[in-house]
């Protein structure tokens, strides 16, 4: 995991409200591409962030810029092919037009930039990526991807429980 993760103290507890969206990106029919949805499955199974809107989609669309314009904060979760990534990474996203658009693919940065430009609003956006390995037409995560998901969820659960103390964050 990257060192910046440890510094992001807020994490999931801050998402437990109706102004927040947690958005899993991926395809459960393409092996480890299902990691984004698996993270949402875990949130539901553990009743973490029950007040947040949870969503699963295959890919981002430009109209997601409209959708996030109604939210105060958004956490996107996706699988990563990045060979340099050890297990998972959490980033604060800044708006950036990267001109990589096709009707099947657009970046989180571009979605945020579109939201800022077209809707004159910019929610707080974080992007959690979990390392995957195989992407063929087959259901189910690989063993290594499952292990990465477990490490990620354990980390977030620990952070989540720590943040519960004191304030009315995320009653689980």
């Amino acid at each position: 995991m990257n060192s910046s993760v440890e510094n992001m103290a807020a994490l999931l507890a801050d998402y437990n409200n109706s102004d927040s969206l947690i958005y899993g990106i991926g395809n459960i029919g393409r092996q480890d591409d299902g990691l984004g949805w698996a993270f949402i499955d875990w949130l539901e199974a553990e009743s973490i962030c029950p007040k947040a809107e949870l969503m699963r989609h295959y890919q981002l669309h430009l109209e997601d810029a409209d959708m996030i314009s109604y939210k105060k904060q958004v956490l996107f979760v996706d699988a990563s092919k990045n060979p340099d990534l050890e297990i998972f990474q959490l980033e604060n996203i800044k708006p950036k037009m990267d001109f990589s658009f096709t009707s099947h693919a657009i970046s989180v940065e571009s979605i945020l930039a579109t939201c800022q430009t077209c809707f004159d609003y910019m929610p707080k956006v974080q992007f959690l990526t979990i390392k995957g390995y195989e992407w063929e037409l087959q259901q189910g995560l690989t063993i290594k991807a499952k292990e990465n998901l477990e490490v990620t969820t354990k980390f977030f659960k620990k952070k989540h429980l720590l943040n519960k103390t004191g304030e009315d964050h995320g009653k689980t």
Partner: protein, 490 residues
């Protein structure tokens, strides 16, 4: 020294494509080909699955035209269980109208994506503009108000799909013999009148007209380029109803020539008797053609341009689209229109046509009725079915056979992009000759002109080869000995 140009991958299309252009020592085009270099095999892995899974699984070929695949599969299942059009059984009014509503919603959404996101930026900025400008994100920076409208249009189209199929992508509504739900009053009123964050149907129609006006402006300013760009011949094919007008959901397959004379008309259940498919070692995508006319003369164009060429008119219930269609027909004085960039004109007309058709359906009380499924029993089982619809990109066919246990034993999908394979190759050749031939220096703008000719068809190479994955296009330049001398990869 002769050269070979390769565009690999072709960008802003659905699927992985590659273009190869061979130049001779004088830089004249000797050959130009669009290759499709991926393969998926959905037809194979559906075998052994229960027949009722086919419309659910096969719609996952595509994240854009999944409703078309779903409906095509549903029509084939109607046949298989013995209540389809092959048996002479008419669909009940409510389920047929629900299927049509989902279909028109997807057509609107898909055409809006292709037109505004992929094509309008090129219309506004020019095909030789910098790549970082001539795409939708360039449009976001240049005209955020327009993009805001486009986003609203797509969102509304998604709401139609969600209201009919339950989800904005890969939902399920059609079942053998009908549909699983009607349209609620609440959903109808939201779509008609709008809601918080959702525009109304009248806004949709207004925005669709704005989109058409963008084409008129572009055409007015660039008439020569638009009219001469890849003006290539092909027969035109689409489904037509009893009134001789295009029917996006059901009808006869009609094929017309340059003079709009009917050269063939067939029940789509007999498709294989009339069509054959050629193959080439350089592409996974097949080349269908009418057997009676042979491969060159019998190749058809499908999709928006073909449909507006084939249809006589539109219904009086869609007056704005009808008037737009008349203007389109007047432009070529009754002849079929072969101008590839006019596909975008046709697409803009069909956005408006979809919106007006949806408005008609939303005001139809039949959509709230309860008779949703035709009843059938085992004695009616036929074990074979064919479904055809006019998908956004053109005529789409699903053909299945199932054994007595109800498992799929055979599946064949003929998608619009495959039908367009020959005419797309003709377009690539034409543009290569006009924009690249004779030039010692190949510019990025010239290479993009090749892509523009392909993008006009909005090809879904994922559907055509039934392949998944990322969607790039590559162009390369090779000399007469096959040595790479230039390459553009995006």
């Amino acid at each position: 020294m002769s050269k070979k140009l390769v565009i690999d991958p072709v960008t802003r299309i659905e699927g992985h494509g590659k273009v190869t252009i061979h130049l001779d020592d004088d830089n004249q085009v000797v050959d130009a080909k669009l290759h499709v270099v991926e393969f998926r095999g959905f037809e194979k892995f559906i075998q052994g699955h229960p027949y009722w899974e086919a419309p659910m699984l096969l719609q996952r070929i595509c994240g854009i035209c999944f409703v078309s695949h779903h409906l095509c599969g549903a029509k084939a299942l109607d046949d298989i269980v013995g209540v389809g059009y092959s048996t002479g059984t008419p669909m009940l009014p409510t389920p047929e109208k629900m299927r049509r509503l989902g279909h028109y919603g997807q057509q609107l959404q898909s055409h809006v994506t292709a037109y505004f996101y992929l094509i309008v930026p090129e219309m506004l900025f020019g095909m030789d503009a910098a790549p970082e400008q001539r795409n939708v994100l360039g449009l976001v920076e240049a005209d955020p108000a327009l993009v805001k409208r486009v986003v609203a249009l797509r969102k509304w189209g998604q709401e139609v799909i969600k209201s009919v199929l339950g989800k904005r992508m890969h939902g399920i509504s059609s079942i053998p013999g009908g549909v699983n739900q009607n349209l609620s009053i609440e959903a109808r009123d939201r779509l008609l009148n709008g809601d918080e964050g959702l525009i109304s149907i009248d806004d949709v129609i207004e925005f669709a007209q704005d989109g058409l006006n963008l084409f008129y402006d572009f055409h007015e300013k660039n008439r020569e380029q638009v009219d001469t760009f890849a003006d290539v011949p092909a027969l035109n094919m689409c489904l037509v109803g009893e009134d001789d007008n295009v029917d996006y959901y059901h009808g006869k397959m009609r094929i017309v020539d340059k003079n709009k004379e009917i050269v063939a008309e067939l029940d789509y259940h007999d498709y294989l008797e009339h069509f054959s498919e050629a193959t080439e070692e350089w592409s996974y995508m097949k080349f269908p053609f009418l057997k009676a006319l042979g491969r060159e003369a019998g190749s058809v164009r499908v999709g928006p341009l073909a449909r507006v060429n084939v249809t006589k008119s539109y219904s009086d219930s869609t007056p704005l689209a009808k008037a737009a269609l008349e203007r389109f027909h007047d432009y070529t004085k009754g002849k079929a229109n072969d101008m590839t960039l006019h596909t975008n004109w046709a697409r803009a007309i069909e956005i408006l046509h979809s919106a007006e058709q949806i408005k008609v359906l939303l005001n139809d009380p039949e959509l709230q009725k309860e008779q949703l499924v035709l009843t059938y029993d085992q004695s009616m089982w036929t074990g074979e079915g064919v479904g055809v619809v006019e998908a956004p990109r053109g005529t789409l066919l699903h053909h299945y056979r199932a054994n007595e246990e109800g498992n799929i034993t055979f599946a064949n999908l003929v998608v619009a992009t495959t039908q367009n394979n020959t005419v797309m190759n003709r377009s690539v050749r034409s543009v290569a000759e006009d924009y690249i031939g004779g030039n010692a220096e190949i510019t990025e703008g010239m290479m993009n002109a090749i892509e523009v000719s392909i993008r006009a068809y909005d090809p879904c190479l994922s559907c055509a080869t039934h392949a998944a994955g990322q969607m790039p296009l590559v162009v390369s330049v090779l000399d007469s000995k096959g040595k790479l001398v230039n390459e553009f990869i995006r």
